[in-house]
């Protein structure tokens, strides 16, 4: 029982150690979020949403309350982590702070890309937190965020150049607690591509929350790719909410290759007719890591389409968690919603917990979910071996083919090649 009291105490002492006076902006929103956070606290082990993902336990193992509530300084040496592939149009955050020197923004001049602090300084009435969420870490993020990004694509602007958002953590000498907030609006008939990545330098533990609110206007489109391949001791909770207006389209990719404990909450709100939403996920876990993807698609209006495909490979002692919710609200007739989750367990100690969930209140709909868990097909492996391919190569080939179903849906060639290279490297290194 001592661990239970520890967890309880972390939540309480965290609340006690948060001092909102240290922040000089958005205090009204912070106070509101903090009040909401106070009532729920950090998720306890029995919390249904965090049942298999002990974020609180991991945090209490690595952090004290004061280490969680204070921002951490960083030095510029982290720039060695930057990817040369994505140097062209890039925004960099170091330990949660926007780095002007490392960022190079070459987006269309009509597109606003600026630090959220700056955006708030020039426009204090900017409604950056209009999408409500009840996730404890989203509320914690809204309380503690140190910096963020504001992107606005005005009406009819189709931005072709993807924007690369890189979150760097310098954990070489001390523990890091970094909280970033992104607020993105894509106007009517406008479009935007975003690639987001997290990297850590050093071996100290990192606690990172990212909260993203993306609003896609009528007939607009957003293409959003999250790459999680962090070699550090990263505990990350990302909350992404995409609010789709009429006839808009969203394509979302969540690719997790590394990270100690990763939790992604992806919420898609379909709030207009004729929307299309595709979301794909690929998670390869190894060692004693945990990857948790919680997705929700909320069909509020009729005649929309959503399609979800999440695939996972679990090796070592790793855990994969998947929860996919599909809500079809009353009157959201003619909704088509499909979901599929496939998992391969590669070792005796790997586990997977999956919970696909449908909640339907409208009758004229087509919804389905499917989910499978198994291991590599022995016959396929044998077939390849009988053709003279060594077992290890054959295994890597089959795993690659398994992952390829997700990867080939990526439209941007440069991004696709990059993902392909890191996934191939990972699979060939391991097998």
């Amino acid at each position: 029982m001592s661990t239970a009291t520890e967890k309880q105490s972390l939540s309480t002492s965290l609340i006690a150690s948060i001092d909102l006076a240290q922040f000089s902006f958005a205090n009204e929103q912070r106070t509101k979020a903090f009040e909401a956070f106070k009532t729920i606290g950090l998720p306890e082990p029995k919390n249904e949403e965090y049942k298999f993902t002990p974020v609180t336990r991991s945090l209490s193992k690595h952090f004290s309350a004061s280490e969680l509530s204070k921002p951490t300084d960083a030095n510029e040496s982290v720039k060695s982590l930057l990817n040369p592939e994505f140097s062209e149009n890039r925004v960099v955050f170091v330990n949660g702070m926007y780095s002007k020197t490392l960022s190079t923004i070459t987006s269309d001049s009509k597109v606003t890309v600026q630090s959220l602090n700056e955006a708030l300084a020039s426009n204090p009435s900017l409604l950056f937190d209009q999408l409500n969420t009840t996730d404890p870490f989203a509320l914690l993020n809204s309380t503690l965020w140190s910096d963020g990004l504001y992107i606005n694509v005005p009406k009819n602007i189709e931005e072709q150049k993807p924007l690369f958002i890189h979150h760097l953590h310098d954990a070489s000498s001390e523990k890091v607690s970094a909280h970033t907030k992104l607020f993105i609006t894509v106007g009517e008939s406008a479009s935007l591509q975003i690639i987001e990545k997290t990297d850590t330098q050093g071996n100290q533990p990192v606690f990172n929350t990212i909260s993203e609110d993306i609003i896609v206007g009528e007939n607009g489109a957003v293409n959003y790719c999250k790459i999680q391949n962090d070699a550090g001791q990263l505990i990350q909770v990302a909350n992404t909410t995409i609010h789709q207006h009429r006839a808009s389209r969203a394509d979302t990719y969540t690719l997790t290759l590394n990270g100690q404990l990763i939790r992604n909450n992806l919420n898609i709100i379909i709030d207009g007719e004729g929307c299309e939403s595709h979301f794909y996920g690929l998670y390869l876990s190894d060692g004693d890591t945990l990857v948790d993807n919680h997705t929700t698609v909320d069909h509020k209006k009729p005649n929309s389409f959503s399609n979800e495909l999440y695939k996972g490979l679990m090796d070592g002692k790793s855990k994969g968690v998947f929860n996919g919710k599909i809500y079809v609200r009353p009157h959201a007739q003619k909704t088509n919603a499909f979901q599929s989750n496939r998992n391969l367990l590669l070792s005796d100690d790997a586990t997977v917990n999956t919970k696909p969930q449908l909640e339907i209140w409208a009758d004229d709909v087509k919804c389905s979910h499917g989910c499978t868990t198994g291991q590599l097909d022995e016959e396929a492996l044998f077939y390849l071996q009988s053709r003279g391919i060594p077992k290890a190569t054959a295994k890597a080939m089959l795993l690659y083919a398994f992952a390829a179903e997700v990867m080939e849906t990526i439209k941007n060639e440069q991004l696709k090649n990059y993902i392909d290279s890191i996934v191939s490297e990972r699979l060939h290194k391991s097998y």
Partner: protein, 481 residues
């Protein structure tokens, strides 16, 4: 759409057919629950000391527990002190044969269409009839006795086979398992006990008719079925209940214990009073059903057709402990008006090469909410486990809801787990195909829904299939127009 509305109107205007009460003088416990109530029930039934202790332990544990909030159902808070926990139909002497049984009781069964004498003669089904918590008549006992099969009421089993009851009671559903199981363990009034000895194949379907009769009486049944090595039994449970305004709580516990090579088939047709069109009244059915495949190569199969109850909260489960053991769950759940059902199955794979199959078909109409909640858990040592789950929902009308909450937890890489679920209404293309072949719309809907549920219905034993089809037809009658 107007046709749908008309269809639904007829569907919803169907009143409960079996709504009547018989006037039997009750010998009831005072309202409310305390240790004294538990002692009263135990004393009333002349129970041995160990069973009273067992009940009291369950009661004390129950007082520390909280009513579960997670099921996807809403109902007014139950006042557990406002329930009569024991009521027995009055009888002066223990009847030796049917002619000595209270004629009122016999009439009750005749109204239900299950005359004991008729059944005895025609169907070969042994009936352990339960009216308000006490078994009144048991038939075919001698015939079963020849084979060494014990099939009797629970209280009788406590008197005559205390060692068996003591050994297996609570072995599958421990008294502290959950809130309602603990409540049942404390105050259970009666139920059925069935013991199939080694190598015996029970020659007939064993059946119990449950009825809830006196107003304000919670029913706390306890069923325990033990199948020894290489034995087989098929058990039927059917329920109808008279119309009532006040909600009635029913918290039963069913335990199945299958040893090596044994097979237990448990079928239920449930048609309790679902409340009226406005959602008033109806039965709360909070049941714990669990089977343990203790021995290798054992098999437990659950089949249920659920059409009644205001609220159903029920998860027949299989614990597949023995290697090569097999669990099955087949369910059709129909909800209408304001009915709420949260039902499904749990398959816990512990042994190697264990297999399980879940087929769940939900049909929701009116303003009802129908949820499937299930768990497939493959434990680490359960090598080569195999599961297939399918849960389909059919929605009729735009004010009902269908929900699916499957949990799939896999800890062994050799496991092969598949789950699929669909939600849809009857496809316009399916109807069109039928129309094209000269089948009118009403007949087409009937055809499609029948086909939809057939996979489950065909699992029912002959004796039950008739009633199940009748029940489903009754429910479908309105919807087909």
């Amino acid at each position: 759409m107007s046709k749908d509305n008309q269809v639904l109107e007829e569907f919803t205007s169907k009143e409960y057919e079996h709504g009547w009460t018989t006037d039997l003088e009750s010998d009831s416990a005072p309202k409310g629950l305390s240790e004294d109530t538990v002692r009263f029930i135990s004393a009333k039934k002349n129970e041995p000391e160990w069973l009273l202790e067992w009940r009291l332990k369950a009661y004390r544990h129950w007082t520390t527990m909280k009513e579960p909030q997670w099921p996807n159902v809403t109902y007014p808070t139950i006042n557990y002190q406002d329930i009569i926990y024991y009521s027995a139909p009055k009888q002066k002497v223990q009847p030796k044969n049917l002619s000595e049984v209270d004629p009122e009781l016999i009439k009750t069964f005749e109204k239900l269409g299950i005359s004991l004498t008729e059944q005895k003669r025609l169907t070969g089904v042994a009936v352990d009839a339960v009216i308000d918590s006490v078994s009144v008549a048991t038939t075919f006992k001698d015939k079963l006795g020849e084979l060494g099969i014990i099939f009797c009421s629970f209280s009788e089993a406590v008197k005559e086979h205390p060692e068996l009851v003591k050994k297996y009671l609570g072995s599958v559903v421990p008294p502290n398992d959950n809130y309602f199981a603990a409540l049942n363990s404390a105050v259970f009034s009666d139920g059925s006990f069935c013991y199939i000895p080694k190598g015996v194949r029970c020659p007939m379907e064993l059946s119990t008719y449950f009825r809830i009769n006196a107003a304000n009486t919670g029913q706390f049944e306890r069923t325990l079925i033990v199948a020894e090595d290489a034995s087989y039994v098929s058990y039927l449970e059917g329920c109808t209940a008279p119309m009532r305004d006040e909600n009635q709580l029913h918290a039963a516990v069913v335990e199945l214990y299958a040893m090596k090579d044994a097979e237990i088939k448990y079928s239920t047709v449930q048609n309790w009073y679902p409340g009226n069109k406005e959602g008033k009244g109806g039965i709360y059915n909070f049941v714990t059903k669990r089977g343990l495949c203790a021995g290798d190569h054992s098999k437990i199969s659950w089949t249920q057709v659920e059409t009644g109850s205001a609220i159903t909260w029920k998860y027949p489960s299989c614990i597949l402990k023995g290697d090569y053991s097999n669990g099955e769950f087949y369910s059709v759940a129909v909800t209408n008006n304001y009915q709420q059902a949260d039902t499904g199955s749990k398959m816990i794979h512990i042994g190697k090469h264990t297999r399980s199959r879940i087929v769940s078909k939900g049909i929701s109409a009116g303003k009802s909410q129908n949820s499937y909640r299930g768990q497939v858990h493959i434990l680490k040592r359960a090598e080569n486990a195999r599961n297939f789950s399918q849960c389909d929902s059919l929605l009729m009308g735009d004010q009902c809801g269908a929900h699916t909450f499957p949990y799939i937890d896999v800890e062994n890489k050799s496991a092969h787990v598949e789950h699929e679920a669909t939600t849809s209404k009857i496809g316009e293309d399916q109807i069109f195909y039928c129309l094209q072949r000269g089948i009118d719309e009403e007949a087409a809907v009937a055809l499609i829904v029948n086909g939809y549920a057939k996979e489950v219905l065909k699992q029912l034993p002959m004796e039950f299939a008739v009633e199940a089809q009748k029940l489903l037809a009754l429910t479908l009658e309105g919807s087909v127009g």
